[in-house]
Symmetry: D3
Subunit: 281 residues, 6 copies
């Protein structure tokens, strides 16, 4: 996400929360007062989103100093100071919730990703996300997946072909769908096809799909699929994969495991902001 887009998004989120003004802070905190604050974890996890949190405060108080004490992607324990902030007390109090809302969600995603990646660390397999992201936050959520050690699947409907059951139904078959796609799309684009059985695997192979996604298959069938494909396409496993099942699936020889829950079901990481002494101007 480039800086201009991130700024625009944060501006909208500040408008959503602050609206016509933070009436509590504005009536209690003296104009020009400064303070010191720390952002710290209340549980262990992998951090993502420090630059977003920083920009929230900078947009509210141009002269705020924000010093990150860890880096995105770091695994940290509970009680860890993530950043030290100093400057306009109003800006810090007003921005607290928006900054934490971003940081907690993104760190929650990074933490969950990291857990899954750890489970398969002995296999040459990538854990990737899907398009089941929160509307409006895709770029940030896909970044959080990277910070957790995962990789990204396509970014949207525009950057790769993914032929699913509905498309196959329309095209009249896997082969026809691949042929139709290849004829129209840019030569720069890869074609992935979702298959449900070994017949589908063979049809996809015949038309030279770049990636074959095995949708909700049994582990034994997956192994057979991998044998049939034999390196002629990348193999992706998908469908209800979790902490329990991931290692077994990684052991089948597939290349990629995609997990929708990385972003469609989010548990925020518990992170807080505490302020210190106020210095009145």
């Amino acid at each position: 996400m480039n800086v201009a887009q991130m700024k625009l998004l944060i501006d909208q989120c500040l408008a959503e929360d602050v609206g016509s003004g933070d009436i509590t802070t504005n009536s209690i905190v003296p104009e020009g007062a400064t303070t010191f604050a720390v952002i710290h974890t209340k549980e262990a996890g992998v951090i993502a989103g420090l630059a977003v949190a920083e920009m929230v405060f900078r947009l509210l108080g141009p002269n705020i100093s924000f010093v990150a004490k860890v880096k995105d992607g770091n695994q940290v324990p509970a009680g860890m100071v993530l950043a030290e902030i100093e400057g306009d007390a109003k800006a810090i109090l007003t921005g607290e919730r928006v900054a934490l809302n971003f940081l907690q969600r993104m760190s929650g995603i990074a933490t969950r990703t990291s857990l899954l990646v750890h489970k398969i660390k002995d296999y040459p397999v990538r854990v990737v996300d899907t398009r089941k992201t929160t509307p409006g936050l895709r770029m940030l959520e896909k970044y959080a997946v990277l910070m957790g050690g995962g990789h990204n699947h396509r970014f949207g409907l525009y950057d790769a072909v993914m032929i699913k059951d509905n498309h196959i139904k329309v095209a009249g078959g896997i082969g026809q769908a691949i042929v139709a796609a290849r004829k129209k799309v840019s030569h720069m684009v890869k074609i992935e096809v979702e298959v449900e059985d070994l017949a589908g695997v063979r049809e996809a192979l015949q038309e030279k799909a770049d990636i074959i996604m095995l949708d909700n298959m049994d582990v034994e069938i997956m192994k057979e699929a991998v044998t049939i494909i034999d390196g002629r396409a990348l193999v992706e496993a998908s469908g209800g994969i979790d902490e329990e099942s991931i290692a077994k699936i990684a052991g089948t020889g597939i290349d990629i495991i995609s997990v929708g829950a990385l972003t469609h079901s989010i548990k925020s990481l518990d992170i807080s902001l505490d302020i210190g002494e106020i210095k009145k101007k």
Copy 2:
């Protein structure tokens, strides 16, 4: 959320997903082909967001017919058809993921809220949300809480005063903070103050806080607080409340229970879209 705002949000989310075009659908589905599709649940839950899903398809295909078969707020079983859609096949396939991303999240929130509300159905207590919402989606998430039978806390920093520990620290005390706020804010605005012990309760009462929030208090202390307050202010309980603890807290006599996890930790409800036969033009 008014219609113009909702349209703007969906436009942004479609831009995020569709970008320069749905290259799969565009290369496979014939121009002008129409189809029929159903949206149905794959697990039981409370539904929220049908109007958002409908608008996604309408923005992509102006002539699409979208007939909701249930209403937002309905508790439905797995396998329930939520809506029947008919019209341009490209629009339906392109809009599927964005529509489901909204509907699944919002229904996930409504379902979780409903579960908590059910636990306290014998008490005259409201379950309310917080400002720990997903950046950009606050209006939709607060609406989903309503659909689950919950109520809303304030919408942002602009529409009510909430005096927290940091504000008290700056003001030099609970009483001072309330006095400062009342002097400046509109007479239309209520003042809530967060307290951590019974001394705080008494100080807040003395300055006539409209709502007193008991932050992470023991159940026994809460009961005592309710007795002290004796109807002179609304009483809100907050802090790590879940399915386990909620009924016991409701039994203390407080008026409102706020639960951040309603929106900061979301499990999407499993909902799918299936298309039927394609009719080529």
Copy 3:
């Protein structure tokens, strides 16, 4: 109004006035020439909007020095220098009218407010604005009312309940309207109801309205209403109140006087900008 919103508004207003370019200034003032300028009053009044004027010039010429010589809220005589500006001559000449258009309107509102506030200075009564503001400028106009010593009523339809005659008609009575509102709205929201006679006052009291607005009532009836209410609700007077009538109304014992004319009928304060010597680069 947060800084991002204010910047956006001013950007739009500069686009409105400057459009494709200030062709007069661009053809006459040499590139890079600098100058000194003063903004000064041509009549006495209360100033509001110096920060807006400053931002106009800063957006046009990033290196412009703008030194305010008075503060918003100050009562100043005619001939007072409000600000000294120094920097890019083109930016100063191009921004002059937009800056003055804001400053003159806002100061006009502050001045009128101040006049009314002065008339009731011996009563414990607030003068407040209404929603009869200029479309697009509500935040700035409500800020100007504060600078004139007034207070703000609600900011919009979103932050407080105001039950008017049309709502009462729909609900079937004052009591029904209050009950319906209390059931649905957040516990953080106050409920005001507009009444036209003493029967209305009693009905509103019975359902515990937070604020009762006496709409266009006679002074004698107002006094009676205040006696009946007896501190159980805030009392607001409204309807065609002006310099003549305000003190008498304040004397009835009501708490708040709302005056639509503060913002729906505006007489700009006469303020000018004069430049000094041009220094060519």
Copy 4:
């Protein structure tokens, strides 16, 4: 103002007033209820802005019927019905204030303009506005001036050259300023110059200014200026002109009278909306 721009402006103004929702109307008016309403004058005046009011309601309730009973530019008495509205009751109640805020301001401007135009109806002179318009509303205010029988001066800094005292100071003289402007600007652009005495008139004439503005001149000097100019340039009078002085100025033989107060000091016309019976769905 084209329709897209007007829609954008109204969307912003609805966002400003409605924000996260009209909580009063939403909690009292049943979903789907319809009603009938009239907009009517409470004082006599010239109407402007009916199309804007109509669009406010259409944006809130797409199926609302809005039937104007008079036309923009009509002079109407107090008690006149301006429009009949029928449709969704929520939309009508929520849109009321924004619609009236536009309609009252624009009609106020049209009414004031009409008054001034009437005073000089026996002279071949145009009453025109200035750039002292409300930030963000210039197009609507200039349209209101037309509806009152006035004409428009330039729309902004971009569409005509207006050389004022500050420009003359920079250029080193009236003649030099005109020459500099003519050399650079498009041949499609007219050049107006503001002069303060008869020497200025002569200098402007010599360099063939298209329009000469007599700034705050005595009536006798104006007459002399008109004689000197003798049809070789259009002559505009400006500076503190009001109902008292306008006829005398029109009698000097000048062509145009510009009046900043048409838009910098606005008295809204008193206009109301009343609803009829509610029909529940």
Copy 5:
């Protein structure tokens, strides 16, 4: 380009041209007058952009009938009627130039593309565009290339990896650059590398680049490169290719020819709009 994006772009372009209003048309054409008009070619070419032209008129006059008489992608002679328009005369006259500006440019691109495609019609080679498009119009220009029988290269920096000389310099070699990219980017993304000689070809092949671009190579060297690559990667030729050289290059056995001039140097196709009789309301 989805409809919402296209509407937004056209709204901006109408704002650019129409601004505060089409003062010529508004003062001459009676309110409500209707007319008939045709858009026709004044030289032969391939048409692209009819839907854009249609939307321009629809945005200005919602009830305008626009009937296309040919389809995008059709090769037409001079004097061909492309569309018949009927409806509000003001909208048609005001929209004429913006509609033609789009249609002429897009048809110019389609025509030029078609010419090049025709030259190589006997070879199994695609003519593709580049990122040298007009800022803001990339989607429309890439669509025009498709209409001319060409294909699209990547859409931006986001949807495919293209390793150019500057990247190779940074990475320390072709191989290192490919390895670095493959490690980080999604498995859905293809990797293209630009090479200048046969050593580069071999290095790219070794690291399994998906596409190898031969930059400004001699035809003989290109042939040798094709032989070396032998189907293991797609081969793209690039650099100053025009009507003269394209067939010879297609004959080398490469797969793709990219031509920046398709969009960086545009000759608009000559297209006009003529109106018929005006019908006054």
Copy 6:
């Protein structure tokens, strides 16, 4: 074009090209690496757009140093260094194409304009552009015409009256059209009328058109028209004028020559960016 508008346009164009990120640069160039780069010509021409190119890089990398070595409007040979850039290597590589896309087009326009201006350097005649500009880029293209030594015609439909054949048809004659326009438009606006023969010239003169445009006339008829007009209006020649015909037309005594091809048919100037050594952080 003011800075805010230019920034907005460039933000959009960066979004168009960079989208979700420059995946090539991001995977190859180390975070924080810096470099030096030069922008230089590969063919001779007149430069325009350096400030736009600079802003592209500044928006991507706030600390980038961009030192222009020539000025807009300079005629430069092939091989000339236009600017030296130093700073964040990612920003420079990511911004390269967008910066060049602007700079090449604008310099192409300036170069073509300069060529035409040179051909008529011995005549007191202006070469001007038209409204046949690229949608979205009018301000930049009109600026480029100025840099090439040309002048600007009107900026849009809003700032001057141009009566064309279609308007004359509607009005019922040249005279009627001029009268209708003069009655309605601001006194600040000039009126130009397009005529096709000497009868038209006479009719336009009689109603005192400010500018008479001779549309596609023979050189001999043009001379006659100039004689008839005799300084009572500016005379503009238009219609298919190119390098061949321009001098002859300038010799007829007309004042202005407008050339649509300056902006409707663009040949970009060949300009490149080369980077130097990368310094890793």
